[in-house]
């Protein structure tokens, strides 16, 4: 936007990072507003992390507390790994949004509100008896009450739009204000609006007008002593895009299918927060992807098992309660030694629990939630962009080791987004699935690769390899049904050993920080961002603390014991009551494990981690 370009360079206070939260009614377009801010910042070279916070209801009554939708953006010149704990700037489009979000704002920080919305009626809906803009309760904040509704309407009043359409532009006013505050150009958003409203030129024009009005309002009113700027972060060179965790998962599987030469098959049943993987893959059926929305989770996984039997890269996606339903069928895949990836996007439990909230409490279910001795590989993704890598890894392990793999993510990283350095599929290490021998070669259904113990895989349609498999115990080699006691024990141990040997095919544990020290912070999965940030801050203060973050949970990296032995204290941090700690205690009982747990449907804040680790370091 040329007319603002001049303000880009002078009079700016340089910040290394800032956290902004846009909050408003579900109908106020806060997700869009937030994405525009974060995308624009990404284009400017900032590192970013974002997190949406949807209401549980589809469309709650306007102005209600439980209808508030939020989107938090953290941008920085420095490395950004979380959407941020405390909000530097809160944009609250109505009283309910203020009420539900103010606890995230520290005194002294900025709050922008649409003052026009603070009517008696709306205050009542939010449960305010007095107007907080007037009763002094916000005096500790840098409060910017702007008549956003009025000004938005004013900017477009001659255009003859109806009331609803006029109101729908309010978010652009707020966005314009924040763009000015942080010296962001408008052109990315204008291009976006053009695409979105191309077929409705009037709406497009109205939105642009209001956007600019907001920008100029902020500039003119000198709401802030000055605007800020955040310079580009130092990131590895390459082409980037902003990627949401669930999209990254879907793409990781597309890439794995391409690089393994397999057709991708997804059998799934919708469930929050996993459905977006199904949605994304359904868009790409022409890439040789079959997405099958089944009648339930059981049919979802069973169709995938059928697809695996038929020779595909087979996948099923779900969240906690769905994983419970798939338990029995996972056992069938274990017994028949078929490759299969089960993605579980964890949410708050037990039972239906807190379906829109995040948690890490399905770990032991993933490990043990099946009848009999039924080992599977368990891996976990640590960030939105790592979802791509772990989807690829899960596919590789399933196809090369002929076994089901459970990939754990969670609502936090699934819906969060972050910059992703795009890699061409050609740059990815190829995947080499187990294969049946050539025609005429000797073969039996349970003949194995002596190193991995993976059985060789013949699929229907291949002449000469007709065979039958099933869920009854198998005789090793032939695969015939066997009730023989010794064979059973052999097979039970063999299936366990096959998974154990995977440790030879996965990377060793890499520490964030020194190889030894006073405190080892242990984490797994989606908490990486917070743990990493908290640990880094303490390292910068000179503390001997390191982070061991697990992507591979069963089996664990082969140097785990050795790493643990080099630290004085170990603290296992999880969003549950201590499930990974339970696993570690039974695997490496020789170490004492401290625990730090939180089960609130929310991610860790860097602040609370920092404080806790500091205590541990000081106590010793």
């Amino acid at each position: 936007m040329s007319d603002t370009a001049t303000t880009q360079d002078k009079n700016k206070i340089r910040l290394d990072r800032v956290v902004i939260r846009f909050a408003g009614d579900s109908g106020d377009g806060m997700q869009l507003t937030g994405s525009q801010f974060s995308d624009t910042s990404a284009m400017l070279g900032n590192d970013i992390a974002t997190f949406p916070n949807y209401p549980a209801e589809i469309r709650a009554p306007e102005g209600s507390i439980y209808g508030v939708s939020g989107f938090q953006v953290h941008i920085g010149e420095v490395e950004i790994s979380t959407p941020g704990d405390d909000v530097d700037v809160l944009v609250a489009m109505n009283p309910a949004a203020l009420k539900t979000n103010i606890s995230a704002v520290q005194h002294g920080k900025t709050i922008i509100v649409d003052a026009d919305e603070f009517t008696t009626k709306n205050l009542g809906k939010a449960g305010y008896s007095d107007n907080p803009l007037e009763d002094g309760t916000l005096s500790a904040y840098n409060l910017i009450p702007a008549p956003i509704t009025q000004l938005s309407r004013g900017a477009i009043k001659e255009m003859g739009l109806d009331n609803t359409s006029m109101n729908r532009t309010r978010n652009m006013f707020a966005l314009g204000m924040v763009f000015w505050m942080f010296s962001r150009p408008l052109d990315y958003t204008i291009k976006f609006l053009e695409k979105k409203f191309g077929h409705k030129p009037q709406i497009f024009e109205a939105n642009v007008k209001v956007l600019k009005s907001g920008y100029h309002y902020a500039e003119t009113m000198e709401l802030l002593s000055s605007a800020y700027t955040i310079l580009p972060a130092k990131m590895t060179g390459g082409t980037y895009r902003i990627l949401m965790g669930n999209t990254a998962i879907a793409w990781g599987f597309l890439a794995a299918a391409e690089r393994s030469g397999k057709h991708l098959f997804l059998g799934s049943y919708p469930i929050t927060p996993a459905s977006d993987i199904l949605h994304e893959l359904s868009e790409h059926q022409h890439f040789g992807v079959t997405t099958f929305q089944a009648e339930d989770e059981i049919a979802g996984i069973c169709s995938a098992i059928g697809a695996s039997f038929a020779g595909n890269l087979a996948l099923t996606t779900t969240s906690g309660p769905g994983l419970a339903l798939k338990s029995e069928a996972i056992g069938l895949a274990v017994m028949t030694e078929l490759p299969l990836v089960i993605v579980n996007v964890q949410r708050g439990g037990p039972s239906t629990g807190l379906p829109t909230k995040t948690e890490q409490a399905d770990l032991l279910q993933a490990m043990y939630g099946r009848n009999g001795e039924s080992p599977v590989i368990v891996v976990a993704a640590s960030s939105p962009s790592n979802c791509f890598d772990m989807a690829y890894e899960a596919s590789r392990l399933a196809l090369e080791h002929m076994t089901p793999v459970i990939l754990l993510t969670d609502g936090y990283i699934a819906n969060g987004s972050a910059p992703w350095r795009i890699r061409s599929v050609n740059d990815l290490e190829p995947i080499k699935p187990a294969v049946a021998p050539l025609p005429g070669e000797e073969w039996l259904p349970y003949l194995r690769n002596p190193e991995t113990l993976a059985r060789r895989w013949a699929t229907p349609g291949m002449p000469g390899f007709e065979h039958r498999i099933g869920g009854l115990e198998k005789e090793d080699g032939t695969g015939h049904i066997s009730y023989d006691p010794e064979n059973h024990e052999h097979m039970v141990k063999l299936r366990a050993e096959k998974v154990r040997r995977v440790e030879n095919y996965i990377p060793e544990l890499q520490l964030d920080g020194a190889e030894s020290g006073d405190l080892l912070v242990v984490g797994w999965g989606g908490t990486y961002g917070s743990l990493h940030t908290a640990v880094k801050a303490l390292q910068e203060e000179g503390h001997a603390v390191s982070l061991a973050h697990f992507h591979y949970i069963n089996p664990m990296p082969r140097n785990t014991r050795e790493v643990f032995s080099r630290f004085k204290q170990i603290v296992v941090c999880e969003l549950n009551l201590g499930q990974f700690a339970t696993l570690l205690r039974s695997s490496f009982p020789e170490f004492p494990y401290l625990q730090y747990n939180k089960v609130q449907g929310l991610p860790f804040t860097v602040f609370e981690l920092n404080a806790h680790f500091r205590n541990l370091l000081n106590a010793k």
């Binding site: 995308d39 990404a42 284009m43 070279g45 990315y188 580009p232 990131m235 590895t236 060179g237 390459g238 082409t239 980037y240 895009r241 902003i242 793409w251 597309l254 890439a255 391409e258 057709h263 098959f265 059998g267 790409h284 059926q285 022409h286 079959t290 099958f292 089944a294 009648e295 059981i298 049919a299 069973c302 169709s303 995938a304 098992i305 059928g306 697809a307 039997f309 038929a310 020779g311 087979a314 069928a329 069938l332 028949t336 795009i422 890699r423 061409s424 599929v425 050609n426 229907p460 349609g461 002449p463 000469g464 390899f465 007709e466 065979h467 039958r468 498999i469 099933g470 869920g471 015939h480």
Partner: protein, 335 residues
């Protein structure tokens, strides 16, 4: 698939596994009928896949020298769907029982029928749970005494024909277990039919429900109690071929030609291909005589055809020609 398949005999489809059903079990007939039918189908052996759940009936795949998968209880239709969608060239068979297919597996069954996936479903209906030693099933008769209904079953049964048509089924056939030739013909017709073909077999379990179908299949009664349907032919039955079926304004009923002024003209002609299932539904309501043979056989697009057509049209329109196109699409920026 390129060359002509070899000429097979039934022996080519006999596996090396010893058959372990009880002596006298109706399942043997089904096995033999299938082994006879496959060579008629013009397919290569490696393209047949038999998928079953759990039950006596579900042991079936082990005995066939084809690809086979003995899965878990009730899930065969879902697993078969995955197989078929992955490789539509395969001839995929679901072998199931009244417990496997209609109790625990009832939902997969009705959904696979609704979707019209091109599978062939063979349900061995012995009105009992055989493998678990004799509990009542969803097709057991009211009053039937079993281990779990020692004083008589109190749950009214499903009529599988009725349920199939209620699930928008396009192919439904029913056949007793004592006629392997008719059965083989029905298997061949099921395979030929594009879409979900449902074949219900009235199967005798000699151990836990012996004689369940005697009132239909016993030599002394079967001419009068079974109505053999043939598409395009009049619905005539009886030892003297003098009985037939007509519509009485409310439902179908059996009448005697020559009595009460009834002539052959009053007797309905069986149209298995009628798209509207009303007549087929009415046939499923009859039990005296019991219609057997192909009751409905209507071709509509299969699920996998619809999927393939859609994928093709996306391919033509899509701006992404490769995965890389997708990964690098939209808003990207360089550092």
């Amino acid at each position: 698939m390129s060359t002509q398949p070899p000429t097979y005999t039934f022996k080519d489809f006999v596996s090396d596994q010893e058959v372990r059903w009880c002596p006298g079990c109706g399942d043997y007939v089904i096995l033999r009928a299938m082994q006879k039918a496959l060579p008629m189908m013009g397919k290569r052996r490696e393209d047949f896949v038999f998928i079953s759940g759990i039950g006596c009936s579900s042991r079936f795949p082990y005995y066939m020298e084809t690809y086979g998968f003995h899965t878990i209880h009730g899930r065969a239709p879902a697993i078969a769907t995955g197989v078929k969608l992955s490789n539509p060239a395969l001839s995929v068979w679901v072998m199931t029982g009244d417990g496997d297919g209609l109790a625990i597996g009832g939902n997969h069954m009705i959904h696979v029928i609704r979707r019209n996936v091109d599978l062939n479903v063979v349900l061995f209906n012995n009105k009992i749970y055989g493998l678990t030693k004799g509990q009542f099933s969803p097709t057991s008769d009211l009053g039937q005494k079993t281990k779990s209904s020692p004083y008589g079953n109190t749950q009214p049964p499903f009529n599988f024909g009725e349920l199939t048509i209620g699930s928008a089924g396009q192919f439904y056939a029913r056949t007793p277990d004592n006629n392997p030739n008719d059965m083989a013909d029905i298997f061949a017709a099921a395979e030929k039919h594009k879409g979900t073909s449902v074949v219900e077999i009235l199967q005798n379990c000699v151990i836990f429900n012996d004689g369940a179908y005697d009132s239909y299949t016993d030599k002394t009664v079967r001419d009068d109690m079974l109505l053999y349907l043939k598409h395009g032919e009049k619905m005539i039955f009886g030892k003297e071929k003098n009985k037939g079926i007509r519509f009485n304004g409310r439902m179908l009923e059996a009448v005697t030609i020559g009595e009460n002024g009834i002539t052959e003209d009053d007797i309905l002609v069986h149209d298995a291909h009628d798209y509207n299932p009303s007549m087929h539904f009415m046939l499923t309501q009859m039990d005296n005589p019991l219609p057997v043979g192909i009751i409905r056989s209507v071709e509509t697009p299969t699920y996998e055809e619809r999927m393939a057509t859609q994928a093709e049209s996306i391919k033509n329109r899509s701006k992404y020609k490769s995965i890389d196109d997708l990964l690098f699409s939209g808003e990207t920026y360089s550092v």
